[in-house]
């Protein structure tokens, strides 16, 4: 792999850009791999990358039914933060956030990580208490957050109306080192690094069945033929239930649509990410100037990658109240992704009832921010067969044992 650098741009500049090579190869599948990872989204590719980097396992295939990074990795609002209440969540999301800080250097691929700060507005007294509690918990976890006053909020985001009639801003949970990154670049950077390590990324190849013998996985049937494997990792977000069914087990999970939309590009007006969970809306400004807007999930099971119009209306209505200046913005695009939501709104990184098969799923609405941490933990689980410290609490048996990682109820977070 030729390294990307300022020198490379200069070199190619004088020879008509003829020397750029493809970022990753498109091989035909081999007959057998040590590890088959189903799903070439951010989490699948990160799992592959850390399998190679941390454990030296490179005889790996990453199988993707669509195109690389075309699912939720390319459909989120690119927010990265780690201000979670519960210790296991804070640990894995903080690991992810810290890996994002050096990702561009680690991958030699500019993922445009922008630690611009994420602000979660407290608009009810209940939320004020909740976020103060989170800030204290974060202090104990070693995650730097603080609870800031409405005046500080106004200072950071002058376009915000903090005296709204219905939901005045009473303060905010502020994480200065949180931010955004270019979502596609994260997938592309990992793909390029994996391909360079000799891993096979096989796109447009759907898994249609799982071969098993003696309670263990032996391979997968795909639209490009059978592929044998020693270990399988299922990292397919919204389609996890489908893959689990093929593997012969069930998951405590449901798939729902989550939507986002972007406005026309405007001049820079807001250089932080603002989330308003009481009214279900969040917004940031992309480098192109578009306001990137997200809201809540739909209330019913759905696999169609589009969502309900009234949810967009609700989100935009809430944002217009908090940011009066957005009321005349035209919206350019709207899209949906299918997120897999568990009973306690926390992910599953776990062994499964089928031997040598591992699952990483249930990230719900918080998948993008966790990509490197999730890949790091999943790689350890796949390589060693047992979860490491980051993944230990996220086993799927926690539902039988009543050992929840209760983020949805305790923190009231929109992920």
């Amino acid at each position: 792999m030729r390294r990307y650098s300022a020198f490379a741009i200069a070199r190619e500049g004088v020879r008509y850009h003829q020397g750029w090579e493809r970022a990753w190869k498109s091989p035909t599948p081999k007959k057998k791999y040590d590890v088959v990872i189903v799903g070439a989204g951010g989490h699948g590719l990160a799992t592959a990358f850390y399998l190679g980097k941390n454990f030296g396992i490179t005889n790996v295939a990453i199988i993707e039914k669509g195109w690389l990074g075309g699912g939720n990795t390319g459909r989120n609002t690119t927010i990265i933060r780690s201000n979670y209440l519960q210790d296991p969540s804070a640990a894995i999301y903080e690991k992810a956030r810290s890996l994002y800080e050096t990702m561009s250097q680690d991958l030699n691929y500019n993922v445009m990580f922008s630690p611009r700060g994420v602000m979660m507005l407290a608009q009810t007294h209940h939320e004020v208490r909740g976020y103060q509690r989170t800030a204290h918990a974060n202090a104990l976890q070693g995650v730097k957050t603080e609870f800031i006053s409405p005046q500080k909020v106004k200072e950071l985001v002058p376009i915000m109306n903090i005296n709204g009639p219905r939901y005045p801003v009473l303060g905010a949970l502020w994480q200065e080192r949180a931010g955004t990154a270019r979502h596609d670049a994260v997938a592309w950077g990992y793909a390029r690094a994996c391909s360079d390590m000799g891993m096979d990324i096989i796109q447009k190849c759907e898994v249609t069945g799982v071969d098993q013998a003696d309670g263990k996985v032996t391979g997968v049937q795909t639209t490009l033929g059978d592929i044998a494997c020693d270990k399988m990792a299922i990292v397919v977000a919204g389609n996890s239930g489908h893959l689990a069914e093929m593997s012969g087990f069930r998951l405590p999970m449901e798939s729902v649509a989550l939507q986002a939309l972007v406005s026309e590009p405007i001049k820079p007006c807001m250089d932080v990410v603002v989330m308003a969970n009481t009214v279900h809306g969040y917004m940031s400004q992309s480098d192109k100037g578009e306001m990137v807007i997200g809201g809540g999930t739909d209330a019913f099971n759905n696999y169609t990658q589009r969502g309900s119009f009234h949810h967009i209306e609700e989100t935009v209505r809430a944002l217009v109240e908090t940011f009066p200046m957005v009321s005349r913005l035209k919206m350019l695009r709207q899209w949906g992704g299918i997120v897999d939501v568990t009973g306690d709104r926390s992910p599953i990184i776990s062994k499964t009832p089928l031997g040598n098969t591992f699952i990483n799923a249930g990230w719900g609405t918080g998948g993008f921010k966790s990509i490197p941490g999730s890949g790091w933990a999943m790689a350890e689980l796949v390589a060693k067969g047992e979860p490491g410290p980051l993944a230990a609490e996220f086993g799927m048996n926690r539902f039988t044992e009543g050992r929840f990682i209760d983020e949805s109820v305790a923190a009231g977070v929109a992920h």
Binding site: E254, S255, Y303, T304, T400
Partner: protein, 107 residues
């Protein structure tokens, strides 16, 4: 927008007048049941890619709970029916079969 006919008051209700209640016909387990049964009742869901039976409540209308048969892939609605039943009635099953002869049936 999703529109369901409330089987009680007959109103064609918009999604914003309704509240989704998740998977229908769950078998309930209480004190004394096994851990597995209790986990299945509380957390395990079918989450099918295709025909799905759900509970809905006509929140901004008559306020009653009812059932709906819906497709999670195409968003088509096969029909709604009373909540006073343990499994989908025959006419709903027939309506699904009429559109999807290959459907394996309610289980």
């Amino acid at each position: 927008m999703l529109v369901l006919e409330c089987p009680y008051c007959g109103v064609m209700a918009d999604e914003s007048d309704l509240h989704g209640g998740g998977e229908a016909h769950l078998k309930r387990f209480g004190p004394g049941s096994s851990d597995d049964d209790f986990e299945t009742y509380l957390f395990m869901r079918k989450n099918p890619k295709g025909v799905h039976f759900e509970r809905w409540r006509h929140v901004s209308g008559c306020g009653k709970w009812f059932h709906a048969a819906r497709n999670t892939m195409t968003l088509e609605v096969y029909g709604t029916y009373s909540a006073q039943t343990y499994e989908p009635p025959q006419d709903i099953i027939d309506a699904v079969k009429a559109k999807h002869p290959e459907w394996e049936g309610y289980k």
